[in-house]
């Protein structure tokens, strides 16, 4: 499903979904979202930790 090619002769970009830009954008969006959510989670964890000190 993810292979952008069916044979190796003349192949250039061979990463998964290289031939399906919309899928690339979705995967990129997911990775950006995960990064941002992780930063938010770090902040939330800190906030909860500091609340317990009060």
């Amino acid at each position: 499903m993810g292979s952008p090619l069916t044979k190796w002769e003349g192949a250039a970009e061979y990463f998964t979904y290289a031939d399906r830009p919309m899928v690339l954008y979705v995967i990129l969006g997911i990775s950006i979202a995960l990064t941002v959510l992780a930063i938010i989670k770090v902040g939330n964890h800190e906030k909860e930790s500091y609340e317990k000190l009060k």
Binding site: F15, G43, E46
Partner: protein, 448 residues
Amino acid sequence: MEPTLAELAAKVATLEASGAMKGTIDTEVYYFWATALMVLIHAGFLGYEMGASRAKNVLASGIKNILAFAFIIPTFFFFGWWIYLGFPNGFMPTADGDPGLPWAMAMGPNLSDNATGVFWAAFTLFAATTASIFSGAVIERIKMSGFVILAILLGSAVWILGAAWGWHPTGWLLTDWGYHDFGCAGIVHLIAGAFALGVLINLGPRIGKYNADGTANDLSPHNVPLILIGLMLIIVGFFGFLAACVIMVNGAQWTNIYGQPMTLSSIGFNTLMAFGGGIIGAWAFTRDPFWMMSGGLAGIISAAAGLDFWYPPLAFVIGFAGGATISYVNDFVVKVMKLDDAVGAIAVHGWCGFLGVIVVGLFASGYPNVGEYPPVTFMGQLVGALVCLALGFAPGFVVSYFLKVVRLLRVPDEAQIIGLDLAEVPLRAYPEGESVASRGGAALQPAE
């Protein structure tokens, strides 16, 4: 039977193609292993920052360091490489950045492009190194969330913009001013040191650092041997960094990033001489093992901009000067400016980075650039140094100020007092051998 001309021509073509492929693979191998060696810089900073922390904060410092590395990697893929390729002229992007967009065909495994992945990887490690430089200065009281945001800003945006300007074959600092900075003294070290300066102004000191009369207290590191080992690992990784600063040209003389011919041999000579000079200079003026080892790093940074062409004893002298001055600069930062730089990052990286750029103007003025670009001049180096200073300081100060306003910069006082490991992680680093933090006489338990 004698081969025909056609057969001979076919053999020559095959040999040429094979030679070209070998050169391509050699390039990949070279930058791949240089990148692997650079990971030791992070092992080193991990030891260095954990050792410099007090025991109650050691794990929080380690986590912070590792998270900076981890977050730099995807963000440098999302936009850092695009910035490097696309901003050589200033603040407006050019179409040259398009191959660095995260959906571009070069930004993934590609049989017609053996180079982008290893170059991206090497630059990502440069980026993570830059963020690590900043991270030591702010240990023991910065919020993890605010720190991660600042590390991403510095590592995946600010320094790489500086690199597009001054560590790039067509960057404007080179084309307009003849700027020369082989080993990124200004582009990495001065920018990171200046960024740390901007953040420290807003972050404030650790509790207990300063007395009411303004005098500074020594908040001793809990593990000096770990600091020394950490700094040695950084030096090993630095060799990978400097190797990756050389441009491998297949079948011809290698060059630096500006296209000027150079040899790997020059790095062999000058890195070691600067390292030795830095350690000796720092030891001679401090007798302190922390500063002695920092001096080794300071020595290399002070000579970094011209490692490709120094006479080796000159690299030694420059390194000696860097090592000899860092403790005095740090005293000025801590005691006069009243900024609590926990590891001397402003002195070692900011000051030595500045020194490194300026000495090229002092000792290598007139050194030719390729093509029509101006030669190296003192004024060009001074302009480059001031640009790096401003580029590092401004976003560090402004963004940290904003984080301070929204309460994402500094941990609460009560967390600092009991220690970030208990307050945040929560884990004890030394469950059997530490002095236990307590409040009101009762030993504290980790938060759930």
